[in-house]
Amino acid sequence: MGYVVRRLLQTLPTIAAILVIAFLMVQLAPGDAVDALAGGGGDEAYYDYLRSYLQLDRPLPEQFLSYAGHLLRGDMSISFVQGGRPVAELIAQRLPATLLLISTALLIATAGGLVLGSLAARRPFGAFDMGITTTALVSYSLPAFWLAQLALITLAFRLGLFPVQGMTDARADYTGLAHYLDVGRHLVLPALVLATSDLALVTRVTRAGLVQELDRDYVRTAKGLGLRERDVVVRHALPNALLPVVTVIGNRIGLLFTVTVVVETVFGWPGLGTLLLQAAQTRDRPLLLGMMLVVAAFVTLANLATDLIYAWIDPRIRFD
């Protein structure tokens, strides 16, 4: 427990540094939110009014301190552009969709990768293994947004198996179970596309680890004792091959948050990715900063979770 608290405290300076850098960068950029809000060539007096209303006419350190002060009180300030709504509210509105997408993708990648990797490792360099390894290598190299388009062209447009856009069917107003089914149907394609490269990676790492483990003496002993092959793999070899898999998955969570930006764009998924693009295009500083913070926090938590899972899987690892 003390370890968890200390790890969380250690991340504060990093997050603070990211915040300062992002703040300065938004400031250094040519043009400001007022241009984006009101367009160019308008009434100067109105611009000045907007600037003082958004407090953009104050000195930079004062702006930053005021922002940081609000932040410490749990207030992410209000969006410049999106109708002056609180940033926290905007993010909270979009976050569940993104988390749903990312966690589904993670689940697919982890479960699928473990199964495929184990199957491939049973006969290394056999036909099945070569097929899986090659497919994994190729799919790891495909850009997610292109894969998304291919999935749309073939599975959604041609075959009509899946809905094309969004998270729910806008024409039908489902409630209860029907609503969940509707979301599930919309979720399949984006989650699969988002999962693809991680699925490939987890498969490769699982296979490689298992191939090494299955060659060890204890596995021979277990087989000699007459255990079924499935039990040998699942109960003895797999847990030992799991550590690199956990590392890989933990490292990829940050990447998932970025890949989801493009995947959400293709599928019109109403998550953080599309909000981030709007914020970048309109120079909405509070919104951009807020999103950087939230994503940084999630990545940090994911890293912490990775380390804790480590200790849980491998009792030799202890934190103090």
Binding site: T14, A17, A22, M25, V26, L28, A29, P30, P124, F125, L137, V138, Y140, S141, L142, P143, A144, F145, W146, Q149, L150, L152, I153, F157, R204, V205, R207, A208, G209, V211, Q212, E213, L214, D215, A241, L243, P244, G254, F257, T258, V261, V262, T265, V266, L276, L277, A280, Q281, R283, L288, M292, V295, A296, V299
Partner: protein, 287 residues
């Protein structure tokens, strides 16, 4: 080293793919002459003998666009990789060879760059400072050298204890000379591996940025071709298929090449894992 690389079938295949992409990029003007942004006939034609990859919604020839887009991608890759190689190798070699305080300071800085969410930063920078390729190259070149520096540092660390380096030092060679003449040639192979994997990441980032509309509007990019294809997915599959294949081929080639060289340098790596033929050789326990 080279001979062993040539014996790895996937490495050779990857190298061949990359070679094709590089030649296309270098000879873009000869292979597909003409302005890739100019119209070349009726719009949305499916692939035919006149237009092997079809035309897009503006009537532009897609083959020409893909060839020139490949050139754009590879230009960005070459510039970013060159910048990262210079920074990463200098930081890594100095850090590993000099050691001490210099090493710890440089490595802390490297770790900082490692935790930078690159794509987010790229969206910020390009979205705010304008979408010229120069901005993108600068940003990626200045922030992508972390892994290179770490790998090169590890190599230099072991090299500085070797006899030939001791010999050079005892003969009065200056540190700069030792770094350039003795350390540099020996860290170069691993640096090239990391650089090729970095190259494949850069292609993807450049394409992704162009795809979400943050690419350079004055250059044809494979990513922006895909962005353009998005609205015509149901009527013109070729607009999406061919630029995507071009990206995939380039990325796959670089990945395969990097993997193959990596297997040579590190027989215990993920991709190289294969069963031991005999129980005589003792392998270090996998972590």
């Amino acid at each position: 080293m080279v001979r062993r690389f040539l014996r790895s079938p996937s490495g050779v295949f990857g190298g061949a793919l990359f070679l094709v992409v590089a030649v296309v990029a270098l000879l873009a003007g000869t292979i597909a002459p003409g302005d890739p942004l100019a119209s070349a006939g009726a719009s949305l034609q499916s692939p035919s003998l006149d237009h092997v990859m079809g035309t897009d919604n503006f009537g532009r020839d897609l083959f020409r666009a893909v060839v020139h887009g490949t050139r754009t991608s590879m230009t960005v890759v070459a510039a970013v990789v060159a910048m990262s190689l210079v920074i990463g190798m200098v930081v890594g070699m100095v850090s590993g060879y000099v050691g001490g305080v210099v090493d710890s300071v440089l490595m802390r800085v490297t770790e900082m760059f490692q935790s930078v969410p690159r794509f987010f930063l790229a969206i910020l920078v390009v979205g705010l400072f304008g979408s010229g390729l120069d901005n993108l190259v600068l940003l990626l070149g200045l922030t992508s050298w972390d892994l290179l520096a770490r790998v090169v540092r590890a190599e230099s660390l072991s090299l500085r204890k070797r006899e030939f380096v001791d010999a050079a030092r005892s003969m009065g060679a200056s540190p700069v000379r030792i770094l350039l003449r003795h350390i540099l040639p020996n860290v170069l192979p691993s640096a090239v591996v990391v650089a090729s994997l970095l190259g494949s990441r850069v292609i993807l980032i450049e394409a992704a940025l162009a795809f979400i509309g943050l690419g350079d509007p004055n250059a044809v990019s494979l990513g922006s071709l895909l962005d353009n294809a998005q609205q015509f997915l149901s009527v013109a599959w070729w607009m999406s298929a061919f630029p995507g294949i071009a990206i995939a081929v380039a990325v796959l080639g670089l990945n395969l090449m990097g993997d193959a060289v990596n297997d040579l340098l590190n027989p215990l790596s993920v991709t190289a894992a294969r069963p031991r033929r005999s129980y005589k050789g003792v392998l270090a326990p996998a972590k």
